[in-house]
């Protein structure tokens, strides 16, 4: 292990290789800024074991999300940072364009800044004097060159900075995503200049978010993620993989280790993005999903399923290459894009070491599908180990129809509950099943929390939520038993002429489930033996519906509220009890 950044000016030693990195890693110290000498607390590895060579005249693109280590890597190549481990050798003069001009001073004129910047990047004064006209010419600044830099726009600064770099002599040029600032005309000019460099045998290393530039200019591209090389090879292939990585949308900057703390919000309730991508197939295609089957409990193949029935989703796939540590995922969305539930084997703590080339299937078994009747879309995917890169991802490609009672209000699911306040006899007297003939009209709520109508003699006293131990709470664990106690006032409506309606809404206004209860007494006690809502905030709305008049006599939208937390990362709105099963066979070659 040697730490060195040697500059070999004699080109004979490395005739082809201009830059060569061997197992380069970079560690940043994490320090306690509150202690006296900024004590060292831990490490942050920005780069891990990066190895590659760049030949003379080659254009290398480096792509990756923000925070993937691109700039650190460029800094190491340019020599402004030294690697913690590993070797780097650079043959020739390196110039870097990292920011809008290194050491630019607002107080000085453009011309003075050219000399200052030139000196900082290591050019002799004479060289700058010789090229001064070319620099000013290329920058298109005209008379502005004698004005103080403070009066420049950021595009003008970039033009000046790029012109200085582009006019001075170098062997290797490192450009960090700065070219995006200029206008299209200047971008074209930069592009042409970069092409000139390429033709004249200079080595270029570029990072940008403009995938267009990568595909047009680069000979080779490297995809970085979390400081590691995910891919290196042809630019268009790297760009495709990067696109797949972006579309997974499950990237988060920070530790990859699973959070032990309770999940407060799944944040994936409504996903407009994935809806617009429905029907698309993304991924690196190292494994291919061949077929998806929906079966009932007996294993019969069907595309319709009954609410609260058993559902098996069976996915057949073919692995083309060796896949290490894959994960399977299946997600169900409602037709309008509401994320119902999307478990995967990673969140369920399964570990699949590897899949060899061959065929196989995986299967997700729901014993009790709580989803309300309606049309749903199913996504299936095979992920890499961090759920960052999809090998194959069929986004909403499969349609599933759930049948059952008429679902006029567009409920999302049907959770089991018991109304405790009702005795056996009162159940006989007040047939609440009538509600399906007179469903309440919920259109008047239209997502405005706090909308209410409380005429005299009718109203809500309180809504209280209790856990298993009878303690009043506002936050519950997913799958905990929850009891709703609702105290209401009703002096007007006879029990047979209407019913009390309790609606559970998601924070963002999606209607989850409605419960109709008779208007007996002045208190209602609803028990959910298992409330399977996934993390997030929920609201409770209440109303008294008159079946005779066909309208709400009293309502309060969003009267109560509660939160759910969970120790798992499952996405969606409702937790559905499930089981995974998989099986694969290699075709014997490996």
């Amino acid at each position: 292990m040697t730490i060195s950044h040697t500059e070999i000016t004699d080109n004979k030693i490395l005739k082809d290789k201009k830059v060569s990195l061997r197992a380069v890693s970079k560690k940043y110290p994490v320090v306690n800024t509150r202690s006296v000498f900024n004590e060292y607390v831990g490490d942050f590895w920005a780069l891990k074991d990066i190895s590659f060579d760049i030949a003379q005249g080659e254009v290398l693109g480096i792509i990756g999300r923000n925070g993937s280590g691109k700039t650190t890597l460029l800094n190491i190549i340019a020599g402004t940072l030294s690697p913690t481990r590993g070797n780097i050798s650079v043959a020739g003069k390196v110039r870097g364009l990292f920011n809008l001009g290194i050491g630019f001073q607002d107080e000085l004129s453009g011309r003075e800044n050219i000399f200052l910047n030139g000196a900082i990047i290591g050019a002799e004064r004479k060289e700058i004097e010789d090229k001064l006209d070319a620099i000013i010419d290329f920058s298109e600044l005209g008379e502005f060159v004698n004005m103080p830099l403070g009066s420049y726009s950021s595009g003008m600064r970039l033009r000046l900075a790029f012109s200085i770099i582009a006019s001075l002599d170098f062997d290797i040029l490192v450009v960090d995503e700065v070219l995006a600032v200029g206008d299209t005309l200047f971008q074209d000019k930069c592009f042409r200049r970069l092409m000139d460099f390429k033709r004249s045998g200079k080595t270029l290393i570029i990072t940008t978010q403009g995938m267009d530039l990568i595909e047009r200019l680069c000979d080779r591209a490297i995809l970085l993620d979390h400081g590691k090389t995910l891919f290196q090879g042809k630019p268009n292939e790297a760009v495709n993989r990067y696109q797949a990585l972006l579309n997974t949308d499950k990237f988060y900057v920070g530790s990859v280790e699973k959070n032990i703390e309770l999940v407060e919000n799944t944040k994936r309730w409504v996903d407009e993005n994935s809806r617009s991508l429905w029907g698309k197939q993304l991924g690196t295609k190292e494994a291919i999903i061949d077929k998806v089957m929906f079966c009932d409990g007996l294993g019969c193949n069907l595309d319709q399923i009954k609410t609260r029935g058993q559902l098996k989703i069976k996915v057949f796939f073919t692995a083309k290459n060796d896949i290490k540590e894959p994960h399977f995922g299946i997600a169900i969305f409602r037709k309008d894009g509401v994320y119902c539930y999307g478990p995967n084997t990673l969140n369920d703590d399964y570990y699949i070491p590897a899949i060899k080339p061959g065929k196989g299937f995986f299967e997700l078994n729901y014993k009790n599908l709580l989803l309300a009747p309606g049309e749903y879309r199913v996504s299936v995917a095979i992920w890499d180990k961090n759920e960052a890169l999809a090998f194959d991802h069929h986004n909403g490609c499969y349609s599933l129809i759930v049948k059952g009672y008429p679902n006029w209000q567009n409920e999302l699911f049907k959770i089991n509950y018991k109304i405790n306040s009702l005795s056996f006899i009162s159940k006989l007297i007040y047939p609440i099943q009538k509600k399906y003939k007179y469903p309440p009209d919920l259109s008047l709520f239209d997502n405005s929390w706090g909308k209410k109508l409380e005429p005299e003699g009718m109203g809500i006293r309180f809504v209280k939520l209790f856990n298993t131990y009878g303690e009043e709470r506002k936050v519950f664990m997913t799958n905990e038993a929850v009891r709703f106690i609702i105290d209401f006032i009703n002096f007007k409506l006879k029990p047979n002429d209407g019913y009390l309606w309790v609606g559970i809404y998601r924070d963002d206004g999606v209607y989850c489930q409605g419960i109709s209860a008779p208007l007996a007494g002045n208190s209602l006690d609803i028990l959910f033996p298992q409330l399977p809502l996934l993390p997030g905030a929920y609201k409770i709305s209440l109303g008294i519906w008159s079946t005779k008049e066909g309208r709400f006599l009293m309502y309060n939208h969003g009267f109560g509220h509660f939160r759910m937390v969970f120790n798992k990362h499952d996405h969606g709105t409702v937790y559905l009890t499930h089981k995974w099963n998989w099986c694969y066979k290699s075709n014997g070659r490996a």
């Binding site: 800024t33 006296v36 402004t80 870097g96 001073q105 000085l108 003075e112 000196a119 290591g122 004064r125």
Partner: protein
């Protein structure tokens, strides 16, 4: 160590550009521009004359009191402002350091150079004042360039040391302010060195004379003021001043080189925050 000196010489155009940049920023907008570097010390001298010579009637045996104070204040200003500016210089210029590839210590060096350029006019005023008031200059004025070189070496060395330490230890700025204040008042700037002689034991006075601050200051006076050398040599001897300055300059330079060698690869990692 010689590698670093060679590097300084190789990158002299960069150091010059950096110093020039700071000077331009300081003096390009004011109407009087660089003339302020003459005007400020001149007005300071008049101020000292009014306060110390006319009102306070302060006295030292060798010369008018205000001249005595000026000889302490001007070199000290050069030293102290260089140190204060340099200490936070690496952090202030982090964009520059993190994005280009040049040795970090060039920044404190350029700051010392900048302050040196500002110091020279006030030195000229001091020489002229000495020439007029004391009727001539001592022969030792020929050693002034040597003295300036040693003074710069000490200043550059300390600037590099403090700028590197400051990257990790941000209390240093405030600690330094106090140390500089103590140093200025404890060295014989406002009073004659003989006042200290009989206060303490002989050993303490010896070490007082050996302190580089006392040494530098006394050397400036020997070089600038006619008759100062003869007087001092006769009463306490001047060998100590030479010794302490030379030894201190070398020690500081060695420490600076050592610290830079040890930290140059990790400084950039700590600069971000």
């Amino acid at each position: 160590m010689f590698g670093i000196i060679k590097e300084i010489i190789n990158r002299r155009s960069l150091i010059w550009e950096l110093a020039l940049k700071n000077l331009k920023i300081r003096y390009s907008r004011p109407f009087m521009g660089f003339f302020w570097t003459f005007l400020t010390p001149f007005l300071t001298a008049i101020n000292y004359y009014i306060v110390f010579s006319i009102i306070l009637r302060g006295k030292v045996e060798e010369m008018p009191f205000f001249l005595y104070i000026m000889s302490a204040v001007f070199p000290w200003n050069f030293f102290a402002s260089s140190i204060v500016c340099s200490t936070s210089s690496l952090v202030d210029n982090k964009n520059l350091i993190k994005e280009s590839r040049f040795p970090q210590y060039l920044i404190p060096v350029s700051i010392v150079l900048e302050n040196m350029i500002v110091f020279l006019p006030s030195l000229a005023i001091l020489i002229i004042a000495s020439l007029i008031i004391l009727d001539g200059l001592p022969i030792f004025i020929l050693y002034l360039p040597v003295l300036l070189i040693f003074h710069s070496i000490i200043t550059i060395g300390l600037s590099i040391i403090f700028s590197i330490l400051y990257v990790k230890w941000r209390d240093l700025k405030y600690v330094l302010e106090i140390i500089l204040l103590f140093a200025f008042y404890l060295m014989p700037s406002f009073y004659s060195i003989y006042l200290v002689k009989d206060l303490f034991s002989h050993a303490i006075f010896k070490s007082y004379m050996l302190s580089p601050f006392t040494g530098m200051l006394s050397l400036y006076r020997i070089v600038l003021f006619k008759g100062f050398y003869v007087d001092t040599q006769a009463r306490i001897g001047v060998l100590y001043f030479f010794l302490s300055t030379i030894v201190f300059a070398f020690l500081v330079l060695l420490l600076a080189v050592y610290l830079y060698r040890k930290n140059r690869n990790t400084i950039n990692d700590y600069l971000s925050y």
